[in-house]
Every structure is written in C-alpha cells, then in structure tokens.
Symmetry: C3
C-alpha cells in the first residue's frame, strides 16, 4: 500500500513546516505529516534528518529511540539508523542487506524544520520562502503550535477572511468596522492577496496594548490595515497594524504606527487534521522580550478561539459532503487560494501519473 | 445525502421532547435529534425556533453563535438567520439568493421544547400530549436529563417492565414483591398499559421517604401500584404510589396515600443513543419546594443505576445482531409498544415512499 | 454470526489464562477473551464456571449481576443462570424452554482460572501445563496483569528476544553484554527454546537487588543466564538468574546464585489486544514475603516499559500491512514460535472445516 498512490487533498511535492527548531533537541521527534509518520532528529553537527518512523527490523517507531553519535538508535533492539534511511549497524548483525526506510528531504531554516513529503528528487531548498523578519535586529518573533481536527483548507479560509474577527475575536481584535469595510482580492501568479484598509477608527484592545507597548497613545483614532498573502502550499502571511490616524496608515512612518506580520504555516497531518504553526513577527520594540511574551500570550489566546468553530465546521461538512457552500466577496481569498491549490494538485497528479 | 431516505428505527413525523424549557435561554442550544444536528433559540417574544445547525455561508454550527434582536447570528462571520431558516442579513452582502436551511416545527409546552423532525407540513401542535400536572396547584414537578448510549426502545422496555426495580434499584424502590406479583398488559389503540397492584407490603425506602414527606406513617403496611402507559413515539408515563393498606390502594383518598406520575420522554439522538428526559409529577405537598428537590435528587440517583446496564446491553446486542430475545409475560409491555411503533413506522414509510 | 467461523490469528481449542484466582471472588468477573465476552463466577463450592456474558432473557451482561447460592443471578430482571449455561429459574416464569447460553470449559489451577474458548468436547484439563513452582515451599510467586493494545504474537516476539532488555530496560535488567552474546534457538516438538549464557559480567541493578535479597555479595562478577521457553498457545517461561562467577553459572549450587522463572501467560482479547499475565516464580528466600513484594513492584515497573513500544509497533504494522519484517538470528525464537502456531492454526482450521 503506497500512500502516494492515493489521491490526497494536499500537495506533496512542496515544503511544509514540520516543527519549530526547538522541538527537535537531543531527543528525536515523531510527527505525522501528510499521513506519513515521520521521525526528525539532529546529527552531531545539528543537521536535521527526517525518516519514516518505522524501524526496518520489527516496525517499532524510531522516535521512541535516542540519538547516539549522530545515529538514531532504535529503542527496541538497538538498530542504528543513519541519516539517509540506511541501517548503519546492529549489535551482532550484518546489516548490508537490510531494507532502507524512506528518507524525506528536511531543512532547518528561519527557526523551523521544513520537510518535503513528496518525491525527494524534486526537493529544492531554495524554494523555501524567505522570511525577511528572521534573525533581523528590527524584528522580534514569538509563536506557538496548535493541533486542530480540520481540513487544512478550512484554516486557509479562516485566515483569508478576517471578517470572522468581528465575531470570533470580538473582545480582542474584532470590531464592527472590519465587517463594514470591503476587502479587495487579487491573484498574482500563485500568490493570493486580500487586503482591507480601515480609516479613522478606535483601536480594539489588542492593538491598544500594542500601541502602549510601542510608547504611543492608545486613546486616539487610528487607521488599521490587514493584508493577507496566501502562497502555496498553505502559508498565510498577514501584514497587520494600526497607525495614528492621518499619518498615512500602512505607509505611515514608524514613529506613528505599530506593525507586524501574522505568520501562519499550516501543515496537514491527515486529510482532516493539521499542525498549525502560528506566530507574530513584530516590527517595533524588537529588543523588548517581555513584550514578545505578552504578545505571544495574547495571540495564543485569540487564536485558540478558532479551534472549536473549525472543528465543528469540519464535522458539519463531513455530515453533509454534497452541500455547496457560499462564495461571497469576503470568501474570495479562500476561493482563489483553493483554485491555486487545485491547479497545482492537478499538475502534481499528472506528473505522478506520468512517472509511475 | 438525504438522511430521511434512510430507513430509521424511530418515527420522524411525530413530536419529541428536544429540551427542557430552561435549557434554551438567551443563548442558542445545539442538540442532535433523530440524527439531525439542530439549533434551538428564542426570538424577542420568547418564541422557539428549531433549525438545522448549519450556517449556509460556510457550514459553521449556528449554535456557537448568539441571538441578537430575535435573529440567530452566526458566530463565525455574522450571517443573521431568521426563524424560518432564511437568511435575513449579512454585513456587506445581498442575501436574497442564499439557500435556506431546514426549519423544524417546534413548540414550547408543559415546560419542554417539542420538535417535529419529519415532514413539517404534517406537524400539528394539538397532537402534543396534554400534561395535566403542568402548572397545576395540586401538582409539583422535578426532573432531569441523561444521555445514554442505547437504542430508545431498550429504554421503553426498561420502563414497561418494572420487575427490574427488584434488581437494579434494590436499595430504593425495589422489593421482592414486585417480582412475585403478576402484571397485566392491555393495548388500547396506540396506548399500551402494563399495571401491577401489590397489597399489604412494607414500603421500600424511597416510598417511606415520600410517606414522611406527606406527613404519613412510614412503618405500617401499604398497598403499592405501578401503572405504566406507553404512547407513541416513545413516551412512558407511570402512575406510582403507595397507600396505607386497606384504604383502597390506587383508589384510596388523598389523606391515606402518596401518588405521583413518573414522566419519561425518550428522544432518539442516533440509532443507538438517546436524550432521556426523566422526572416525577407529584400529587401531594405540591407547594413544598424542598421536597421537590429531595425527590428529584433521589430519582436522579435511582435512574442513573440503569445507565450501565442499558449501555452494556446495547453493546451485547450489537455484538449478536441475529440473536432472538425472550418475550415473557413481564416483557409484554415492551413487546406491545414495539408492535405499535412498527405499525406506525410501516405506515410512515409507505407514506414517504408515495410522496417521494 | 458465528465468531468461530471467522479466521482468527489465535488458537481456540486450547487453554488460556483468563484471570488470576483472586480476581473471581463472590462477585462475577466479565472479561473478553478471544473476542468472546465471558463471565466467570464461583459456585458454593468455589468451583469456577465460564459462560457467555449474555442473559438469554434480554441480552444484559450477566457479569453485572451477583452470585446467589451458586447461581448467577442477572442484575436486570433476576434470571438465575446455572453453571452449565441453562436457566435454572426466574421469578414467575417457567424456564424450561429458555435457550441455553454458551458454556466454556474452565478450570482453576496454579493460582489462575484457565478457559478453553473453542470446542468444549475437546477440552482436556490434563493439557494445562504443570507449574512446578506452584504451592511449593521452595518457591515464591508474585505477578500482575497488563492490558495491552497489540497482537499477542508481538508479545511472544518480545519475550523470545531479550536483546530488547539492553534498550527498553536499560536501567534495571539491560546491559550491553546481552546484545554481544549470541543466543541459541532450538525447537523440540511444539516447544521453542532460546537460550543465552553470559560469563563474568557485572550484575545489573535488578539482579544486584536480588543477590542482596538472597544474602549474597552484589559487587562481584557474575555469570548470567536467560532460557526462554515458548509453548503453545502463547506461554513463555523464562529461566533467569545470576551466579557468582566461576561456580557453574546456570548449574551453580543454590548458595552461589539467585534464580527465578519469569512467568508469562499471554491471552488474546481481540486480534490486536491482550491480557498479559506476568509474574516471577522465585527459587530463593521463598518465605520472604517482603522480598516477593519488592520483586513484584520492580518487575511491574520494568514490564510496563514495554507497553508503549508494543502498542506503537502495532500501530505501525497496521499502517503498513504488507511490509515484511526482518528475521534475524535474535528473532529466531519468535519466528519459530510463529511457525508452531501457524501449524496448529492450520490443523485447527482443517479440523473445524471437516466438522462444520
């Protein structure tokens, strides 16, 4: 049974975030990604490997083992697995004929471990999207990971239509004016952009906290912006911020605004579950670690409010598989993102059919 | 996929209790009934509506939303749903072409919300069975709700054969004489009645508590009665009581007895799970709220003793689907009730087949 | 639906341990064995019966009832079931025509209840393997029961390849020299024996504790042995011990060694779950009850370390049903045990096909 042969709703010849860098320490990490159980570990030089989480000896999960001198040692009978999926040694055994296990291209970059679940020959690390905020003195990053029982596309929909903030996040970032301000969606190649600019409003609580964090008055009118950028397979970067009203909004000089990028890497675990890596890259007061912590806590609380609605929406859709959903102007971002994904899925299927 | 097309073990063109009145407040209530996820809410005049729990926009459950000026506002993106399943408004949208969602006839009566899961055109609120004890100065009511993983007919069987009290409820209402006294079952149209009259016995603990509650001696011989009345689809009302012996038993004047109606509304959630609304309508000391509380607590404890046996009986029956069960004289109430149900199910199927 | 008709991965015409004797007291015990829900109870003479856990009246589990004068009384409506699966009595009923339920041959022996899930006509209590250590003044026994979600054969593999001790039990009984010392596997009829003798090593912590418990020095070199004996259907007895080095190892006189039998009775619950009865029969300081307790606690902790690896190995194998596992020399014990089982399964199937 080759799980690649099955038609899946997600791309496989692409890079996904598998873990935050700190999750893979001197212990291996087991995680299912695109329906494959994988194990991630570091060798002596901290280089990351990703393998099938399946010992070729008796099928035990290698993630229950430990790393010893750069090899992954199975925790059941001591088979030593190399970074390439080939057995290196086993006490008292000749291992040359041992069947290899699958190795997945994996790269550590921008504070994350990235993995390529598809055809390894096509993996190109230069295709990992550059994160300009990473390791930059003017930017600070904080984030977390949620496990959610929903199709990864429901999370893309969620992030490409921020009118939900008015309802799901009413007490923190939501406000009536989001709803009342039309958004604009454009497609540039594989990138889908939905943007909304709101003028001369009161800042909601989360942004008042941010204004104070940047030493700015929080009780004056502001301009607010939300620019959501989807890129395949399932990344959504959202430029967000507020500026004191009348200074140019999104274009305002730094001393009049607080601005950030909401970072969303959505990784399919199965057809109906995801690992959701969320965070915020902040372009003000970058050296203030305490502010990073309080923003992370605030964002974590806000983003947790989406979980129940996404999981129960998924249940409803599974109960009514044939029912068509509406595609309004506010849904255009998600709709266009799905079109991009569908096009790439068709191309991937065509290529896989040709080569198999 | 039309869930109506599937053959179900329960009637759909009938009234079921969906909730106790107090469960539907200013917040909507989500509940699955007859395999349909429904949402119940009140408009500004406290009138109840029941709709599919599915927002036509993106499939989110409407029960996670809130009621605002009589409309049900979706908690995801703010769609405003009317009482009839038609979208009333949505910020920034024209909603005329939005597909309606299903609306279920719903009525509030006798302290409960009643719902009709089948063909709305046939719903007739006058068919809701009258509860004479409701809002009557001589009667008091207390009850509760249990969720049980069993076919609703197993609960009907349970309530129509009270010999189980001797074994399941040995320490409260059970006593050997129930077992030893034959019952009599009659069918009058769609009503099945199983009755048992026991003379000159000691009252068991629950009834001694009730006698004391009514200011009567609890250490004298009593006559006891149990008259179980099944009516479709799945209501079982049980007249129960004890009178000081020699005063006429069931017919004894009020000053010599304690008498109540055990109220059982059994609502299928799925083919093998139920919402079980249990209670007791008491025809003595109606103004004593403290007595109502202690009877409710006692009944709740007693009725919870049935849960494990019903759920594990269900498991056994699922494991052995072809095995015939015995139908003894004590089972006659349940057997006759199932006959009534089967006849109505056949009629409902015939009618549905004709009209579809 | 006859569950016998289905091809199963375990033998049915054989004796399995169903329970430790103390588990069946004056209350009945319900337990699923070889996919059959069974109830075990004792009559007035403490004789054990095993029946289907299914009341012929309405399918309630008899294990929720109680034993009264040697009969098993159903906890739902009081049916009295005899030891042979025939109904003895029921209040107010003639029971002669009641259908019998299945009775399984059951015997209490060596501190355990043994059951024969297959054709009762073939059950022969003399085939229950003799446990020489039972009720013997020179031996002491302590043990326990674990429920594990894995095919019973994975546990046989585990016990027939003790190189896993080096990795799974590194801090107690594991040591590098197990890995480094080849084992030898022989088959004698239906018995498979894998043995390993290790000379002149340091004793690991568990065995140092045992040496001290027997009044022997724990800081001198020892010889260590492990002799694993599989017999069908799924028993693994392992002779283990250490002797002060140079006194003959396994053959050393009692005053120079500590020796025990690890007792493993593995009973299939379903195709992928087991009841695992583990214990240790100790051939030193038999009268020291405190030592029995501390060895039981130590063994329980050590054996619990296998649970996660076995359950996750099972998950991996279910995910990859077609993948061949390696069969190395260390796996020979398990491989040969499976050959014995496969031969007996084929014979059992042939016989069942002939007689059905």
């Amino acid at each position: 049974m080759n799980s690649n042969a099955r038609s899946t709703p997600y791309l496989k010849n692409t890079w996904y975030v598998a873990a935050a860098s700190h999750e893979v320490s001197d212990q291996p990490l087991g995680r299912k990604i695109c329906n494959e159980r994988m194990v991630f570990f570091r060798n002596e030089n901290q280089i990351i490997s990703a393998l099938e989480d399946f010992c070729p000896h008796r099928g035990a999960p290698l993630s229950l083992g430990r790393v010893c001198k750069g090899k992954l040692v199975c925790g059941y009978h001591g088979l030593e697995m190399g970074c390439d999926g080939k057995t290196v040694a086993m006490p008292g055994q000749r291992v040359r004929g041992f069947p290899p296990i699958r190795s997945f291209p994996a790269v550590e970059r921008y504070g994350f471990i990235w993995v390529w679940p598809g055809d390894a020959a096509q993996a190109d690390a230069t295709a990992i999207p550059h994160q300009a905020w990473y390791d930059h003195p003017e930017w600070a990053y904080g984030g977390g990971l949620y496990h959610i029982q929903c199709d990864y596309r429901l999370m893309i929909d969620n992030l490409m239509d921020l009118t939900h903030e008015t309802y799901v996040h009413a007490s923190s970032i939501g406000q009536k004016e989001i709803d009342e301000t039309p958004c604009k969606t454009t497609v540039e190649g594989q990138q889908v952009v939905t943007s909304r600019h709101i003028s001369n409003i009161e800042a909601p609580p989360f942004w008042r906290m941010a204004l104070r964090g940047n030493g700015l008055a929080d009780d004056v009118r502001v301009d607010r912006w939300q620019i959501c950028r989807f890129t395949p397979p399932s990344h959504v970067m959202i430029e967000v911020g507020v500026a004191h009203a009348g200074h140019g909004g999104y274009e305002a000089p730094p001393e009049h605004k607080v601005s950030s990028i909401v970072v969303d890497f959505i990784t399919p675990e199965t057809d109906t579950s995801i690992h959701y890596f969320w965070g915020m890259a902040r372009h003000f007061q970058a050296q203030n670690a305490e502010l990073t912590d309080s923003i992370r806590a605030g964002q974590g609380k806000i983003f947790s409010e989406d979980l129940e609605i996404l999981e129960r929406q998924q249940q409803n859709l599974l109960d009514h598989p044939g029912r068509a959903l509406l595609m309004l102007n506010i849904d255009a971002g998600g709709v266009q993102a799905r079109k991009v994904i569908d096009g790439l899925l068709a191309a991937e299927k065509k290529q896989t059919d040709l080569t198999s």
